[in-house]
């Protein structure tokens, strides 16, 4: 199993290199730094000097891949590729186009992001799996039928509607919690309760339906019939036999997103004014701050790969076939 984990880790390296090259190509080859400068400074009436100055301030005035004028290793290191892309591997993100330190921003914004993403994840998982078990228990009854109908209806509603509607109803009409904003410490709960609740509700439809399908697929298997032939009650069958087997496909979809919780939730954070990484991303997009977007893309893929690794590890917890081979 150790060998298995090592192999998975080694496998992550070429993928990260691929991501890195891809983002490099996307950000520096599709458009040149000149294009970006012109864009930032306004398309018309921009002097070459202004462009040069803009580039120099942000370190974009170097050659892309190879500096023939420099000496020694500088030929490689004094390039945009090395400065902007290779350094990402050691989590050196450099400065944003507005001059602020990206690494520092990320560290301070991680907290609020986690404060909203973790409760959403845990609560959402609990609620949807419970609902799905309920529907599976009452399968082929009216409860199940209308439950599925409700799920389809709920997943047909735009997530924006949940947010806008929830904000309007709870904060504006009922005045229960502040519309938006954030505070540290215990006070945060006041600001978080609504976005968490809304995010959980928004996810119920599709997740419940997905888990229900998984449960029903397991219930149709032969070993469930064996369990019933032992005289076990339907509850015991569901919790002791079905749930444990269904964990395998459920984990595939769930564990992989755990590391991505650090990234926060894009829309929710921006709507509720929570200073997390999600809203950082949106601000960067609106300001067309490519340095930030580039860093976030890289962090995102690192976290995703960590997620894949965790998924593989989590199988060993629930599936003896993986653990013992």
């Amino acid at each position: 199993m150790i060998a298995y984990i090592i192999r998975r880790l080694l496998y992550a390296i070429p993928i990260l290199v691929g991501v890195n090259l891809l983002t490099f190509a996307l950000f520096f080859v599709v458009n040149t730094p000149d294009d970006m400068a012109r864009m930032q400074l306004g398309i018309k009436r921009v002097t070459p000097e202004a462009i040069q100055k803009w580039k120099a301030e942000r370190g974009y005035d170097r050659p892309l891949l190879y500096d023939g004028t420099a000496q020694g290793t500088d030929r490689i290191t004094r390039t945009i590729f090395f400065e902007k892309s290779v350094k990402l591997f050691v989590l050196d993100f450099g400065r944003a186009d507005d001059g602020r330190d990206i690494g520092h921003e990320i560290r301070t914004r991680m907290g609020p992001s986690l404060a909203i993403a973790v409760p959403v994840f845990l609560l959402g998982l609990f609620v949807t799996v419970s609902f799905a078990l309920l529907l599976a228990f009452f399968r082929a009854t009216y409860l199940d039928f209308w439950g599925v109908v409700a799920c389809v209806a709920m997943m047909s509603i735009s997530s924006l509607f949940y947010i806008i509607g929830g904000q309007y109803l709870v904060s504006k009409i009922w005045h229960l919690v502040p519309i938006s904003g954030y505070a540290g410490g215990v006070d945060a709960a006041r600001f978080l309760i609504l976005p968490v609740a809304i995010s959980v509700v928004a996810g119920i439809g599709s997740s419940t339906r997905w888990y229900r399908t998984i449960f029903l697929e397991e219930i149709g298997k032969d070993y469930v019939r064996t369990a019933r032939a032992k005289g076990l009650s339907e509850m015991a069958v569901l919790f002791r036999h079905v749930l444990k087997n269904a964990m395998i496909p459920i984990l595939t979809g769930v564990v992989v997103v755990i590391p991505l919780l650090f990234m926060g939730a894009l829309i929710t954070e921006s709507f509720f004014g929570i200073p997390g990484l999600g809203s950082y991303m949106i601000d960067a997009i609106n300001a067309q701050d490519f340095a930030v977007v580039r860093s976030m893309v890289f962090i995102g893929s690192v976290l995703y790969i960590v997620g894949l690794l965790l998924t593989d590890l989590s199988y060993t917890l629930v599936d003896p076939r993986v653990r013992l081979q």
């Binding site: 993928i15 398309i43 735009s158």
Partner: protein, 478 residues
Amino acid sequence: MPIVLWTDALVFLLIACAIGSGVYVSRREYLLASWRRVGESRAGMAALTVLAAFILVGLLDSLHYRPRLEAVAGQSANGFGTEVRSALDVLLLPLKAATEKTYSAPLATHLYARETVELPDGTQARVFPRLKHGGVHLKDPAQDRGRDVARHILRGLVLAVLAGLTFAAIALQAAAVRWGVRWPAAWRRIRRGETRFAWNAVLATLAVLLLLAGPVVSLAGGYHVFGTDKVGQDVLYLTLKSIRTGLVIGTITTLAMLPFAVALGIVAGYLGGWVDDVIQYLYTTLNSIPGVLLIAASVLMMQVVIDTHPDWFATSAQRADARLLALCLILGVTSWTGLCRLLRAETLKLRELEYVQAAQAFGASASRIMGRHILPNVMHIVLIAVVMDFSGLVLAEAVLSYIGIGVDPSTISFGTMINTARLELAREPVVWWSLVAAFAFMFVLVLAANLFSDSVRDAFDPRIAGRRIAPAAQGQAA
């Protein structure tokens, strides 16, 4: 001068594909049987009827032209305007042209904001001025409006009933001829659901649609049924125009990624070895960048390209269209991995089946086996993926446009409508109608798509039920 935008061309290509596969299916009994099962599903057929109405609007909106410029004094009349219009615009010209100054509530006769007007006696007062188009035919809006609206609705209902009866008569006649029975018998069979095809669901849905559309059409002649937005555009017009954008995103995206996903998935699964390794590496790498981020990065970059080359596009509509197409392609690039992986897994299974081995025993080449044996046996997965992706993509458009990485701000879409309208919830009193209209139409479209895709999935493969190929944005947005 007719003009074919890029997305129009792809829409027409899509229709050609649909007709082509219709012919293909009609010659194959096993495919027909599956489609018949779709036809038996009442929810599916009701959803398809609704979808058909949406598609009709979308298609009308895909026939574009540039109107000839009116001869202005001193100029020759053979130039074409830079404005691009569609067939739908022509139909909705009264709505399109009937712009007000700013907000007005549904069916209102007055603006939603006070304006300072000079009274005849020379004093100034802040009043709600009358609308230029909504309810102008009323002499005394305060008194007459209720009666007038009721009259319009009644007229609309009568029209709807008439249209419905005409359609029902045609359907009954066709059914009666086909089954060789009289009208009452045909009616009984349809009503009781004794037909294999879910005719009763189609007719009932159609009736509901007509009963809703009739009054709206009738009212739209004299009022802004859904009100107007900030710059006074009719919200009903905006909503109808949004439909095309949603449909284009939902279909062209899948169309764009389909060849890659299918070809790479099958090749990786069948050939294995280093080909498989390369393809797997490719999709794992693409997949490892969180979808929204990849879309954001690509869209930002594409925006720079478009902005630095303003000379590429003759009209602003063409530029907006290029951006829409680019968005579809980007969404396609980020969403083909799921289907590709699914197809690879299925091909791995099929490769071991005995009929594939039998073909190998005849010395059939790999490409022949992939084309003749593997592809037809994974097509149902492709079909299910296409219909299931649709609704996710429509929802994703709204989210992406909200973040600012969606369609061009000048393109009318559900996303841009919501984006411009959401700030108005903070107004006192609130402006709710454009939000509600956009959400309601989007909900109906997505719900219909979901129900239809469910029935397609059930008919073609109950096994992979619910194994969604999650579209990029929707999952992470909330």
